[in-house]
């Protein structure tokens, strides 16, 4: 039976390779027929900023990689509304459409999961 797996992405994309490697794991989870969702929270929202160019710092572009999530079967993309407000970001700043969740909605998302990882 498929498990409900939530990837909680809360790291900024270029200060370390952490975000990129977590996205690779989320992509692979998608092709393994699990019910995968992703929640961008805190500095993880920076992963979604438009107009990134990872080539400028010698690597891949995290925002482009995130665009592949639906190709890999991961279509439930959520983002923390209060985080966006704190960081001064809106949907217009992002390169992908996400569903904004308040804290109550994030709690119920967490409570629906079998597994949560980062």
């Amino acid at each position: 039976m498929a498990k409900r797996i939530l990837f909680l992405l809360n790291r900024a994309p270029y200060g370390s390779t952490y975000a990129l490697e977590a996205i690779e794991a989320a992509l692979v989870a998608g092709v393994f027929d699990q019910e995968v969702s992703v929640l961008f929270s805190g500095a993880g929202l920076y992963q979604l900023l438009s107009e990134q160019d990872g080539g400028a710092v010698g690597g891949r572009t995290v925002g482009k990689m995130l665009g592949a999530l639906p190709e890999y079967g991961v279509t439930d993309l959520f983002a923390c509304g209060p985080s966006a407000q704190r960081l001064g970001l809106t949907g217009n700043d992002l390169c992908l459409p996400v569903t904004w969740l308040d804290y109550t909605e994030q709690k119920s998302l967490i409570n629906r999961q079998d597994i949560i990882t980062g």
Binding site: I5, T17, Y18, E21, E24, A25, V28, F32, I115
Partner: protein
């Protein structure tokens, strides 16, 4: 209960590798089964077979090897993360024509699919962050 563990931090640089090792030992002691320890991100450096710990500090690499060998726990290092950090087993050393295999043979080099399989085959999945 079947438990799998992810270790995200490098030994010493992050406390997580040691915390995970202690947690795994306690879980085994309480009768649980550890299906797989998946070393992800800098966590793969736990496989470094050439490290030398000072005599008065815990040897984390040796601790993991002992856990793997005495309890049959699978120690899996993520291939994508391991290669770029210089952790190669004999097969990868040969493939990329490098001088030496750097990962201890108690660790197996695996794809990210094994991370997802650990999640699907375990009752609990515990992530030890960096």
């Amino acid at each position: 209960m079947v438990i799998s563990i992810a270790v995200h931090g490098a030994p010493y640089a992050s406390a997580g590798s040691r915390t995970a090792l202690r947690f795994a030992a306690s879980a085994l002691g309480l009768g649980h089964r550890i299906h797989r320890v998946f070393f992800h991100h800098d966590g793969v450096l736990a496989a470094a077979g050439q490290g030398v710990a000072p005599q008065d500090e815990e040897d984390l690499h040796a601790g993991w090897v002992r856990l793997g060998e005495s309890h049959g726990v699978e120690l899996a290092i993520c291939i994508a993360n391991a290669l770029k950090r210089g952790m190669l087993d004999e097969a990868e050393r040969d493939r990329y024509e490098k001088d030496a295999a750097t990962a201890h043979p108690a660790f197996t080099v695996v794809g990210l699919g094994q991370l997802i399989e650990a999640m699907t085959e375990s009752d609990r999945f515990v992530t030890f962050a960096a």
